[in-house]
Symmetry: C2
Subunit: 350 residues, 2 copies
């Protein structure tokens, strides 16, 4: 039986779900000859770590308790042991320092957190310096096998010409709904009521989350870019930003001022036989996020609801792209992606 020690950073939504998955998969993993030994859990305020990280583990009932009660624990000195999967399910920009220390110790790193991958190149290079020991499928499209597939294409020497995708369930929903003639403001408010958006929808409409995903993909292709080199289209103007306009004011008075412009763009696209999608677009010349016209007969153009979709064009997938589509958000599917990543590094363990 392989013994794979796991340390989990971040036990909010995704982290908690991951612990529940780990516990409920015990017999499945036993059949596969693997045992995930959880040696520690922390969130931004607290840390729980087992006394002897070499042999002990947090037992399942304790893991489920940890999900509920945030206990305080001793300090994070136990990282000096190599052969540890260090899992970052937080959403913090501050973990890169710890992660790069962990990499130095020779540990494996599994990320659901996008931010460590969008830091300046120097820190990024350090983080990815031992690529086989880093997995981060859930940073793009949650559990959808976007990164696994892209890595397979890269390692087979098949040159990638172009990636275009809808990587925000919220913006995917909004852009397909406005197509039916509903005003932009009404669709955004409906999306908020349905729980599809962040509490302040401007966090989605600004495009930064999609930009991070685009940057992660572009860097996988070897592009040495930073977030501030990227063209990022915001669906609201600066004067309606969170620092300028209160949320309620934005929803009631700000949004309707944007309806006409979106409607005009939709009509223009429609005249060209196209539809509008908020996409990430990476090719030789560009790495950008924003509204693009796409053919209504493409996978992107046919997208409805909150699914994500990614089209990858390469020598092998030249005329017709490789398409990966499905739910790209949610704690459950994100946690499933993290767990698959952990299982995928098992060959690095004794």
């Amino acid at each position: 039986m392989k013994n794979l020690p796991v340390f989990l950073m971040g036990c909010g939504g995704v982290g908690r779900q991951l612990l529940q998955h780990i516990v409920s998969c015990r017999s499945l993993h036993a059949k596969q000859g693997v045992h995930l030994r959880v040696v520690g859990v922390c969130d931004s305020k607290s840390l729980v770590v087992v006394a002897d990280v070499l042999i002990a583990e947090l037992d399942d009932s304790f893991l489920l308790e940890v999900c509920r009660v945030k206990s305080n624990g001793s300090s994070l000195q136990t990282l000096a042991n190599s052969g540890l999967a260090f899992v970052d399910c937080s959403a913090s920009a501050e973990t890169i320092g710890v992660l790069n220390q962990v990499v130095d110790f020779g540990c494996c790193v599994v990320l659901a957190n996008k931010k460590p991958l969008t830091v300046p190149m120097e820190d990024y290079d350090k983080l990815v310096s031992r690529p086989r020991r880093l997995r981060h499928e859930s940073t793009v499209g949650a559990g959808l096998p976007v990164i696994a597939s892209l890595n397979r294409i890269i390692s087979s020497g098949d040159p990638v010409y172009r990636i275009i995708g809808s990587l925000s369930g919220t913006l995917g929903y909004v852009m397909s709904e406005v197509e039916y003639g509903r005003p932009f403001s009404q669709v955004v408010n409906a999306a908020k009521s349905l729980g599809y958006t962040e509490p302040d929808p401007r966090d989605d409409l600004g495009g930064m989350d999609v930009a991070r995903k685009a940057l992660i993909l572009a860097r996988l292709l070897g592009r040495r870019l930073n977030l501030d080199n990227m063209k990022i289209e915001s669906l609201y103007p600066e004067e309606m930003g969170p620092d300028v306009m209160p949320l309620e004011d934005f929803l009631v008075n700000g949004l309707p001022l944007l309806d006409q412009k979106i409607e005009d763009r939709i009509k223009q696209a429609s005249a060209n036989g196209n539809v509008l999608r908020y996409v990430c677009l990476i090719d030789d010349a560009r790495c950008e996020v924003g509204i693009q016209e796409v053919s209504k007969d493409s996978a992107l153009g046919r997208l409805r609801g909150s699914d994500n979709v990614v089209e990858i064009y390469s020598r092998c997938y030249e005329k017709q792209p490789l398409v990966i589509q499905g739910a790209g958000a949610g704690n459950d599917t994100t946690a499933a992606g993290v767990l698959a990543d952990i299982l995928d590094i098992q060959d690095l363990f004794p």
Copy 2:
């Protein structure tokens, strides 16, 4: 630099392309810190193997020559070395014996050949007894990441409820073309002229190739099935089989007799708002291949041309499936899938 010895069985279309990929990816792999050391190549009649398999390798110019000239070589005694990736790019049903010996020796096995995975369960169990040492992405949908994605879902404990897919470019093309009212016989003849079919199109129309792929997926899900337990719909009746009716006779006189029945089924499906696809279908109750009605708004229903598409339904992808779509045939993409598999087992090597 990691040193990964590779032995290639089968140097026809896919195998030859693989050798060319290996040679052209040398600098890419060097950057990744991996060197693929090809120690031997064989096809059904000949074997070329390097003298000292522990340190020597077939050099690149020789590999490219091997692609052209089939040389005779010494016997296959060198397998006793563990830490070898044994690659089967043949289409032979006879390799299972050798492969199971190779597994006994502790070697890794990479397959583009479907047939070793569709042998009776006892031999199959042996072949998959060390699952981390077996990769076979290219057996289903060529280089499309179908198996990698399914394995990720399985190892994350996400239960798979249903897989439905169009896994034959030929049958995908035929079923989408007849939808426009063209007679079945005419479409099959056109597909043959376009080079989409086997020399005798009955090899595609019989469904056996799709059935093998369905069985491979079902067995991955833990179903203990054999080919003879499966419902396999043939698109021609027994009395038009290759043993009964010459090819020319089938194309000219046999096929048109099938037009009316297909047309009737299309009309019936259309009355239900559906279209017909030749699919593999795996769920709790079924593992079968044949014509099914599918919603014209699903990924399967919207399929055109010779792309493959697979829809996977699970707890995480319950209402909307995970969809993987793209070119599912061709030497280039198949070989790319094999190469990605080889690179993917590198952590098992020193």
